[in-house]
């Protein structure tokens, strides 16, 4: 009994040491890169990286929130993102871009509605009937395989209905603006970053201040106890899917503004990175998903500065593996053992 706090203290100080070490290492690397490319280029890289990262984070949040309440990796999430992008492209096609701001807002709103409906429907049809069924490992494995199946289904449905061709996204925001200390940056980048940050602040408020947010965190913390408080599990799960899908829809519209093309397999590329971001930050942790997304975005852009020219996913996975070796629960994941 006496040994427990000692162990904990030792573990905590070791963790602090590791964290300091990792930070120092990161800082050194950063200084090295900064010196070799010069401040101008570095500023540009950081802005681009943060923009990419913010979009990844928006998608990563959906993975992490659903994992929190269901302990399920919702592989169909990347397809909800893709469908959100399609909804966006159709809305823009229908209303035109005479008034860019209005079009932008309309697109986001309709994409949010469409994606939420899709997310809720997937949960109702594919996951809910399986909940609490089966024994042992099957309780977790069956929904996981189902999620993979739904992902394939949605991707193929998109190919069937929307065809596999790349659709171009209208240039909503053009031009660039000067940011002091960085230089000219594409206006679209700035808008993406600002919108993503605002959405994340909004999410933080929802999660921390509303009864839904408290119920969601309670449910991810201890389902049985949450039900004893009167929390309706099904309602919270549906709402979580709606919220996660909404964030993916915002991410999708922003992604399209950045990349200006939409295609059925687009979910896989960003979905993989978003999933990695969620695991890197600690799956189930909302700030973790934000941090993981931003880190991956910046990391991807920093890699581009080097002479390495292979797939961006390779260094991303190297970082993931390195982090998980040191912190199996991810950067901000809770690895506190439950007191019994």
């Amino acid at each position: 009994m006496v040994a427990v706090p000692d162990n904990q203290a030792a573990g905590a100080s070791r963790a602090r040491l590791l964290r300091l070490g990792a930070m120092a290492l990161g800082l050194l690397l950063f200084i090295y890169v900064a010196r070799s490319v010069g401040p101008q280029k570095l500023g540009e890289t950081l802005v681009t990286g943060l923009t990419q990262g913010a979009m990844i984070a928006l998608v990563a949040l959906g993975y992490t929130m659903v994992y929190g309440v269901l302990k399920l990796i919702n592989f169909a999430h990347s397809e909800v993102f893709m469908m959100g992008a399609y909804v966006g492209v159709f809305v823009l096609g229908a209303i035109g871009i005479a008034n860019p701001l209005l079009s932008f807002v309309c697109t986001i709103v309709v994409a949010i509605i469409g994606s939420s409906l899709l997310g809720i429907t997937v949960e109702r049809i594919a996951y809910r009937p399986l909940r609490g069924r089966g024994r042992g490992a099957l309780v977790r494995v069956t929904p996981l395989v189902t999620a993979l199946g739904v992902s394939v289904l949605l991707q193929n449905a998109a190919q069937l209905f929307f065809s596999a061709r790349y659709r171009s996204y209208p240039q909503l925001i053009t031009g660039s603006m000067d940011i002091p200390g960085v230089g000219p940056v594409g206006k679209s980048r700035v808008i993406i970053l600002v919108v993503a940050v605002l959405v994340m602040i909004g999410l933080e408020l929802i999660v921390k201040k509303t009864w839904f947010g408290k119920a969601m965190r309670a449910l991810s913390s201890n389902e049985e106890a949450a039900r004893l408080m009167g929390v309706r599990t099904s309602w919270v799960i549906s709402s979580t899917f709606a919220l996660g899908s909404s964030l993916a829809a915002v991410g999708a519209v922003l992604f399209c503004i950045d990349q200006s093309s939409v295609y059925p397999t687009m979910g896989t590329a960003i979905g993989t990175r978003a999933f990695v971001a969620a695991v890197l930050g600690g799956i189930g942790s909302i700030p973790g998903a934000m941090l993981g997304g931003l880190l991956l975005g910046v990391l991807g852009e920093l890699v581009k500065l080097s002479s390495y020219s292979g797939s961006i996913d390779a260094p991303v996975f190297v970082v993931l593996i390195a982090v998980l070796l040191v912190r199996p629960a991810g950067l901000l994941g809770s690895n506190r053992a439950e007191k019994v």
Partner: protein
């Protein structure tokens, strides 16, 4: 401790009718018959203890009452209403709160958030603030730790938090599962003192407890369970003098 939530209708029970009545309840747990037809009556305002050895069905009884385990057969009536098929989420709205074994607090939520969730169904700000003040009066330690995460509390403090959280719903019936389990004796005594305070304020309490001496010392009546059946029942003070109980549960 202010009790009885203003927005919930008070129980209108006929004279002499029990608040909780279970009759011939059978529950099985993955093929094992955990309760083999138990019957109990709890009157409003009573403190009733359920004691017995490990595996006798004490926790199963409470879980069954909170609807966390399905009932195979038998009747469960609370405030005169059949609650056998009411979902867990609704039990608290009816006025029954369970403090589960192992406390089951929300470790990564703050103490304040844990308590607020206890009032999830009664979000009226004024009532909530009043109840929270009562809970802090009952457990001053919680008041000092409001902004701390629940998981950082000691075992005893977590138990206080779990009881406080249950009280936030202003239940008529409080079900406590092993409140002294794994807690330093000094804190356990404090917790039992708080339970007596809660009972004095008019809340009916059913407590399951390994520590037979403590359970019989702070309850009015007790049921002794043995392998899923009620082996003995009676006034706690009398049971405490029973040679058989002394031999089996009080260590001589």
């Amino acid at each position: 401790m202010r009790v009885n939530h203003p927005t919930r209708a008070k129980a209108v029970l006929p004279e002499g009718a029990p608040l909780l009545e279970i009759a011939d309840v059978r529950v099985s747990y993955g093929g094992i018959k955990a309760l083999k037809g138990i019957s109990m009556k709890v009157m409003a305002g009573e403190v009733v203890a359920i004691i017995g050895a490990n595996g006798a069905g004490k926790t199963t009884t409470l879980k069954m009452l909170a609807r966390l385990l399905p009932v195979d057969s038998g009747t469960v009536r609370f405030r005169g209403e059949d609650v056998r098929d009411v979902p867990t989420e609704e039990i608290v709205a009816r006025g029954m709160s369970l403090v589960p074994e192992g406390r089951a607090i929300f470790p990564n939520l703050t103490v304040r958030e844990n308590l607020e969730l206890g009032a999830y169904l009664h979000r009226d700000k004024v009532t909530m603030a009043e109840t929270m003040a009562d809970v802090v009066e009952l457990f001053p330690r919680l008041g000092e730790r409001m902004v701390q995460e629940g998981g950082t509390l000691s075992g005893g403090e977590q138990q206080m938090l779990a009881i406080g959280r249950a009280m936030m719903a202003r239940p008529e019936l409080l079900l406590l599962d092993e409140p002294s389990l794994g807690i330093a004796p000094k804190l356990a005594a404090q917790i039992f003192k708080a339970i007596r305070t809660i009972a004095k304020s008019g809340v009916t309490v059913v407590v399951v407890e390994q520590n037979t001496r403590m359970a019989l010392g702070s309850s009015e009546r007790a049921y002794v369970l043995r392998t899923g059946e009620v082996a003995l029942e009676g006034v706690s003070a009398v049971l405490a003098e029973d040679p058989e109980i002394q031999k089996a549960y009080l260590g001589g």
